[in-house]
């Protein structure tokens, strides 16, 4: 059982890393990875929301009717995001200002809705919490990696502190928007190469369920997956 929890936790970090493997939450990934501080703050904020929403959705999984599932998830996620937003504005105003509109956009971050739909509604509260933590750590890790590369090599600084020796070698485009796409693409490529040895990522297992509409979707592959999953869970 303990091993199972650990695997849930680790899965989010590497094998099903939300940003680099599941390719979810790309908008904040590109927007806030210009510097390490904002990337870490964004990662933490999203992780808090992810864990809390996973826990609540999992706890209410038997109460929430299927038909109004998605609106309920959205309300719950939006509530946590709003709470985080208000708390940050009150107690960490500098981070609130740094994240700007992207903080509010956590509501529509696909990682969170995706995990609610794929995991929390089918698993226990504790498992969902671990899943949220794992996915959150994976999100933080990916953001940190991107931000580290973009800030150190692009802006020649680390967490806002100027690195003297990097000033001569910095590549300004990395800190700009095109650099974000570039670094992102390279990281995905590296991740694919690394996971290739283990037989590649099982894309099937999250391709269709990652979509919030998977359950009501009538196209064949979705139905098949749904059935498969049910069989596996049973």
């Amino acid at each position: 059982m303990k091993n199972n929890k650990l695997s849930i936790l680790l899965r989010g970090i590497i094998a099903e890393n939300p940003v680099l493997i599941l390719i979810l939450g790309t908008c904040p990934t590109l927007a806030v990875t210009g510097n390490v501080t904002s990337a870490l703050s964004m990662g933490l904020a999203a992780t808090v929301v992810l864990i809390c929403s996973n826990v609540v959705i999992s706890a209410l999984r038997k109460v929430i009717p299927d038909t109004v599932r998605v609106p309920c998830y959205i309300v719950i996620i939006a509530a946590f995001v709003t709470a985080v937003q208000m708390l940050l504005q009150a107690f960490l105003p500098s981070i609130y200002e740094m994240l700007g509109v992207y903080l509010a956009l956590i509501v529509v971050n696909c990682v969170i809705l995706g995990r609610a739909e794929m995991f929390a509604r089918k698993n226990t509260v504790l498992d969902s919490a671990f899943d949220g933590l794992g996915m959150g750590l994976g999100f933080i890790l990916a953001l940190f990696l991107m931000a580290f590369i973009r800030e150190v090599f692009g802006a020649g600084s680390f967490m806002g502190i100027e690195l003297g020796f990097m000033q001569k070698f910095k590549i300004p485009v990395l800190a700009a928007a095109p650099g974000g796409f570039l670094v992102y693409g390279i990281l995905i490529a590296v991740m694919n190469k690394l996971t290739e040895k283990k037989g590649g990522v099982k894309k099937k297992s999250f391709s269709c369920e990652g979509c919030p509409s998977a359950a009501i979707c009538t196209s064949k592959p979705c139905l098949n997956n749904e059935k498969k999953e049910e069989v596996e869970n049973a």
Binding site: L60, V63, I64, P65, T67, V68, P71, C72, V75, I76, A78, A79, T82, A83, M86, L87, Q89, A90, F91, P93
Partner: protein, 405 residues
């Protein structure tokens, strides 16, 4: 009935969420509000460290404040006002915050924005502290005269604004002082010199074009202007010529000016004799204009009558421009001391043929002069100064001719 459960569940979730969020808002709301106020107040507190809370006065129109004041903030416990003033230094767009205590003393000043490049404005920040309208003394920084003047004007506006905002009336003498540039456009940057006699304040033009004497009679204040040739006029606060009613003060002003004024007649006479070797009957003429003309003479060459004018306008720096106008009002000769000087120091003059430039003025009359002859490419400031000198010389010529007829 089938739809009832989903509706109920969603409503319950929404209500629970609303309750929780309102709870959090009750905790964070006041903190966020306090932070917003602190951010807005920090700029105000900087110029009024004693203040606690500020409230913006929105109805500025009724206060009739100087135009340069864009925002007024009142300290809510009555410690004074903070003014946001826009001013013009070397370039327009200086924004200065100035705090004035309830006693009318400056509590602090800070330049928030400026287009001037020297960065000298920060050296003036807080230098006016403790000054009031009564003991206001400009703080000038060498090498940044324009910036210093802009700052001075802003502080002066804020002090006037304080008097008006706190329900007082402006001393008419101060309102008059603000009118001097309008009444005597040629008196550049009038600065106070020691006052004496009946005069509350005496101001001297930086280009030596004359003096302005502010005095009061009864409730009202007046200004006597004396130009460099001794011509005098008295104006009231509305800009009306009231010389005839104040003859005594006018002669006192003339006497003061005669003693303090630098005469440019000799310099002009020398110039005329160089321009016209056969000039005779060179006589100084008293003029009644208050422009940049500092000396005027009439003279004769071979029986024909001419007038010579010496104008001190300001271009990039002080200019000395001469015009000779014949009896018909056409320019006979033009010259300026700066051509030799500028050619040496300013690249804009390198390709300039000054003989041709001067000749370009010859024959021009008030009707045919349109400013084109004065243009020197890449030397806008100098060109504008010469334009002003030309206009002023024509104006003075016309006033002499008009007076003679």
């Amino acid at each position: 009935m089938k739809n009832l459960k989903p509706t109920l569940v969603l409503s319950c979730i929404c209500m629970a969420v609303a309750l929780i969020l309102s709870g959090i808002n009750m905790i964070t709301g006041p903190i966020i509000e306090a932070q917003r106020n602190a951010a807005a107040n920090s700029a105000l507190l900087e110029v009024m460290p004693d203040g606690t809370d500020f409230e913006e006065i929105t109805d500025l129109a009724s206060l009739n404040l100087p135009e340069s004041i864009t925002n007024v903030y009142k300290e809510t416990s009555g410690k004074g006002y903070v003014f946001r003033v826009t001013s013009t230094g070397y370039k327009s767009g200086m924004v200065i915050m100035i705090g004035v205590s309830s006693e009318g003393k400056i509590t602090g000043s800070k330049c928030l924005e400026t287009q001037d490049t020297f960065g000298k404005e920060s050296e003036i920040d807080n230098k006016y502290n403790e000054q009031s309208l009564a003991d206001f003394a400009p703080h000038m920084i060498t090498g940044a005269t324009m910036t210093s003047s802009g700052y001075r004007d802003a502080v002066s506006s804020a002090l006037q604004g304080f008097t008006l905002a706190s329900g007082g009336k402006l001393d008419p003498a101060i309102a008059l002082e603000a009118k001097i540039p309008e009444l005597a456009p040629g008196f550049t940057s009038p600065a106070a010199v020691d006052a004496s006699g009946s005069f509350k304040k005496i101001l001297k033009a930086s280009n030596d074009a004359g003096f302005a004497y502010i005095f009061s009679a009864g409730e009202d204040a007046f200004v006597a202007l004396v130009n460099a040739t001794g011509g005098c006029k008295v104006f009231d606060a509305d800009g009306n010529d009231v010389t005839s009613a104040h003859e005594a003060v006018a002669s006192e002003a003339k006497a003061h000016a005669a003693a303090a004024q630098k005469s440019y007649v000799d310099a002009l006479t020398t110039k005329i004799t160089r321009l016209y070797e056969t000039a005779t009957d060179i006589t100084a003429v008293e003029i009644s204009t208050f422009n940049t003309v500092v000396a005027a003479v009439s003279f004769k060459v071979d029986g024909a009558e001419y007038y010579g004018f010496y104008s001190r306008s300001i271009g990039f720096h002080q200019m000395d421009v001469y015009f000779v106008i014949d009896a018909n009002g056409a320019i006979a000769k033009m010259d300026a001391n700066q051509f030799i000087f500028e050619k040496e120091y300013f690249h804009g003059f390198a390709g300039m043929d000054d003989a041709a430039y001067k000749a370009g003025f010859e024959g021009l009359t008030t009707d045919t002069w349109n400013g084109d002859a004065a243009v020197i490419a890449t030397a806008t400031m100098t060109s504008n100064a010469i334009k002003q000198s030309t206009n002023d010389s024509f104006e003075t010529f016309n006033s002499i001719k008009g007076g003679a007829q």
